[in-house]
Symmetry: C2
Subunit: 206 residues, 2 copies
DNA sequence: ATTATCTATAGATCTATAGATAATGC
DNA sequence: ATTATCTATAGATCTATAGATAATGC
């Protein structure tokens, strides 16, 4: 019971940290602000996460579990283009989470940032997984003419870049539609039909 | 003479601010660190820029002049795809500047960030200028099938997104090559030849 | 007068440590 | 014993204001 309580508390704290980081970035986030949101004193929070950096690491590990933890996600299938299109649609409904990780990604390029290695390692793996998915689907050359590896770099770039434009000006940027546009460039005309056939779904996109 | 001295000093301070922001972001940058780099006391610096925010605004205004100030840049021609390809190549040689603005863009999505409006306004205009350039070149539909407006959103996303991947792991990402890949997707095969003909240059890309 | 700088410092914060108190689990 | 929290506080910073000093420009 105590253990369960404790886990609950930690989860509450992580959720609060997500929110505060979205509002102010990691450097701007204060332990006091996170604690207040949970209804703890700042020192009470430090009982669960002994340092500010430990809290950030926990936030990042949590994300890692989410992204790669699900059964279907393991082994390269998580970053299939059609699943990504759904992910983008899902993300467009939770600006808070997108804002947290966009703020962290932006900060992570500065020196000695505790999230830097996380993002670096993660992108190596995400690009590799995407390339594998694209290769499985299209072989060595996509309809648009790129190799899977070269397409993967652009895919990650589009995903991240769209988030910034969308966060800054949600009404000016239709993030899911833009991502679908990009997929069509990569996959050539008829991509929507191909995806629908594979999933056994009817209906068209766009 | 006093005026000239003063302008020089301000320029020195702006250059130092660029560097410190690249290292630590705006929130992490301290006036003391900027001042030290110029060889001034923190209070001496405040003589030139009365607040930290005033210093940031000056950095951003400086960038605005750079981007849109040149004669050829005015009126929409600055964001032509072929010029962008050169800009990306140029940027790949100055990671410091790229890092400054990538860090600022990342921070700008957090609440009440003093650069938020700058980036929001800027992106509206950049997208519009790009769309105008693409329309002038291709008309209502690009070879890849997108309208100029829809292509512009993706182009900005690719530019920003590639910078993060490249800053985190320069040896893993060939930023200029990736951007050329994207242009070929947009413009279809033969884009390199088309650009070369327009510029009266020989030679191929890629 | 104005400009360029400096010393001193007020007033806010922030992280993290120390040590106490109360409740829970063997 | 261990867990969950709290009060108190040390030790660092940070921004910005106040006021002094020296040099430059009319």
């Amino acid at each position: 019971m105590a253990r369960a309580r404790s886990e609950e508390r930690r989860a509450e704290i992580l959720a609060a940290a997500l929110t505060v980081i979205a509002e102010r970035g990691y450097r701007g986030a204060t332990l006091g602000a996170v604690a207040e949101r949970v209804g703890l004193s700042q020192q009470g929070l430090l009982h669960y996460f002994p340092t500010k950096e430990a809290l950030l690491v926990a936030v990042l590990e949590d994300r890692d579990r989410w992204d790669t933890g699900g059964g279907a996600a393991r082994g390269g299938g998580a970053w299939r283009p059609d699943l990504l299109a759904s992910l983008v649609e899902y993300n467009a409904m939770r600006p808070g989470v997108v804002q947290t990780f966009s703020a962290l990604l932006g900060e992570s390029v500065t020196e000695d940032h505790p999230a830097r290695e996380f993002f670096t390692t993660r992108y190596v793996q995400v690009r590799a997984d995407m390339a594998a998915s694209l290769r499985a689907e299209y072989g060595e050359v996509l309809p648009g003419g790129l190799t899977p590896e070269r397409a993967a770099v652009l895919m990650v770039a589009v995903l991240d870049g769209l988030q910034y434009q969308w966060l800054l000006d949600p009404s000016a940027v239709d993030m899911p539609a833009a991502f679908r546009d990009f997929l069509e460039l990569l996959e050539g005309p008829g991509a929507a039909g191909r995806a629908a056939r594979r999933d056994g779904e009817a209906g068209t996109r766009d």
